[in-house]
């Protein structure tokens, strides 16, 4: 369709996906380390509030905003870490509590510090410039789409690559993956599991905080109550969908960004499909992906070949090899 793939839409996609990408990096690291991190919504909210507040207090300096947003995200994530790692509280419930805490805290601080009912604006913000990368203009569609973004967007993409390398090629990443597989193995290897989990939680706090600040200082320059609007949960969905693999997760966040961008387009064009329906799709897809992955995991645990293999085997009338180790080697 002509509407769908022009550079404007793709550029929107990248812009919209940026905060998701940033937050999802932290979330996937947590997932790899065995921590179900549901608190990104709260981290992002905190980051978006503190980001704007810091900008206002520093007379328009965006970078100060980013810095403090990341710090505040990390601080809140420390509460989460304490609860979940040290006190071994239920991860999901703690995540929900943190989200509630941040929602209440940001609204409260908004009213208290700024004495404003719903929104604060940072009018004198030195908005982030968009970069102009010369050679990109020459590449049709894609190049144009990639050009003229703020540095944060490019940072997000670079971070995805870095995360890939770190996760799969460094000791830090290996320890994270090991922790997610078997805490026993990690302990026997002399690594402190708590330290590994704290690390990933703090990282996710900082990155989510940055993502939140991006929302409130780059996309708009204001903070509104509950402005994160479920993006934190989208992040979690993206991580599950992408199986906690940096590249796959990144692509999913792009998919979400695309859906949003196209949704806006469609709204502008006034076609029949309600944007609400389109917004549903990521969640629906996520449930399907989740079901497929848990179904095959279930069969893996029992040692039975996945239902797909069984089905195929029966159709082809071939004996399906069970993972019976007695017969192997």
């Amino acid at each position: 369709m002509e509407i769908s793939f022009n550079s404007t839409v793709l550029a929107s996609m990248l812009r919209i996906a940026t905060p998701l990408t940033l937050a999802s990096i932290g979330c996937l690291l947590c997932q790899r380390a065995g921590v179900v991190n549901f608190a990104m919504e709260g981290f992002m909210l905190m980051g978006s509030f503190v980001g704007v507040a810091a900008v206002i207090f520093s007379n328009g300096n965006v970078w100060v905003g980013f810095l403090f947003a990341m710090l505040s995200g990390a601080l809140i994530s420390a509460i989460f870490a304490l609860s979940v790692v040290n006190f071994k509280a239920n991860q999901v419930i703690s995540g929900i509590a943190i989200n509630l805490l941040c929602s209440g805290a940001t609204t409260y601080l908004l009213r208290t510090i700024f004495k404003v009912p719903g929104t604060i604006r940072a009018d004198d913000i030195n908005k982030l410039e968009t970069l102009d990368i010369p050679f990109l203009d020459k590449i049709p569609v894609v190049g144009e789409a990639l050009n003229h973004h703020t540095i944060i967007t490019y940072l997000a993409i670079i971070l995805v690559m870095i995360t890939f390398v770190v996760l799969f090629k460094t000791e830090f990443g290996l320890n994270i993956r090991a922790q997610g597989e078997s805490e026993d193995a990690v302990k026997t290897a002399g690594i402190n599991p708590k330290r590994v989990q704290w690390n990933v939680i703090l990282i996710s706090g900082a990155l989510s905080g940055l993502a939140g600040a991006y929302l409130s200082t780059v996309i708009v320059s204001s903070f509104t109550i509950d402005m994160v609007q479920g993006r934190g949960f989208n992040t979690f969905t993206a991580v599950v969908f992408g199986n906690a693999h940096p590249i796959a997760v990144w692509l999913v966040t792009l998919l979400f960004g695309y859906a949003d961008a196209v949704g806006i387009q469609i709204e502008l064009l006034g076609t029949g499909i309600s944007p609400s329906i389109i917004k549903m799709f990521p969640y629906g897809l996520a449930i399907v992906a989740l079901t497929i992955s848990s179904g095959s995991a279930m069969n893996r645990n029992i040692g039975r070949p996945s239902k797909m293999k069984q089905l195929v085997g029966r159709i082809l009338k071939k004996p399906v090899s069970e993972t019976n180790e007695e017969t192997a080697k």
Binding site: I96, Y108, F233, S276, I287
Partner: protein, 365 residues
Amino acid sequence: MKWYSSIIDVCKTILRQILLIAVSIGLATLFLSVSGYEPFSILQGMWKGVTSDLASMVRWSTGLILAGLAVCVTFKAEIWNLGIDGQIYMGGAAAAALALALPEGSQFLSVSAMVIVGMLAGMLYAMIPALLKVFFETNEVVSTLLLNFIAIRFVEYLVSGPMQDPTSITKLNASQKLPLWTWIPRLKIFDPSPANIGFYFAIVAVIIIAFVFYKTKLGYEIKIIGTNANLGVYGGMKPKWVTVMVMCISGALAGLIGVIEVAAVQHRLINAFNPDFGFDGIVVSLLANNNPVGIILSGLFFGNLRNAGIAMERVTETPSAITDIVMAIVILTITANFAIPRIRNIIKRKKMNKEFTPNRAGSEN
């Protein structure tokens, strides 16, 4: 001798909960005074809630008690239904759809039909994650949460599309006002508050659920499977069946909340009509230790707290968001509280030098 111990147990639990609440409110009061507000405005608001503004407390507790029930039914079976909000939406939407289609008739019949349809909708919506869990071992935490978002969007779609009010001049995201004969009556003594007879539904629901827990086969099976799933299998129970039953009950209760909000409070289907009763229900149930009767008290408390926040804001300009903070602290302290005995065990074990032994199935020393 027999009655003593259980009463003492109950008292101990209540005391513990009261302590938690006191700590959280204490912290909140501290926040308030530090930020320059009237430190006791929360307590003032809560006192008002019990004395002069009973109406709002009733209005909020209705949903909170039902939500707490919906939560405790599943949590007792160690199943995490976090999709209550979504089920509320589906219940409300179904009820509204039926209401707009019903011909004029008896209020009793119409409302009954709406209640049944709403509860059915919530139940069916809850069956989705239940079946996914039973057949594919899909984690219900994630599936129910995802379904929440779908439900929210679905209602959003309904009110901005097919069910949008054709008679209004401005295009609001809301359905047509529901006809009078489909309204759930409000409590006249509390006029003009939206407090309604749904409160009685909630109390009745508590009685029914308590009955199920303590006096039925299902209740016993929930208790056993919730504390030791192996025991359930060994004793011949069917954990999968219990999973489905429990989620259905939970979904039905959630659907009821939706019906009440739509037919008694809003009198129409509007976008985002659910003030997050589902999440709050988790706190309500946790605070009551998943005990149905305790949920009445807990629900009333949070209803009061909610209302106090709103009132507080009106009167003293203290943000009602402080109630969210209080609730969050309560949740965190409760989940950590349940972990404190665990920590005590860990410390005890360290002292006995059972520090770290890998999972040695079968071998004994």
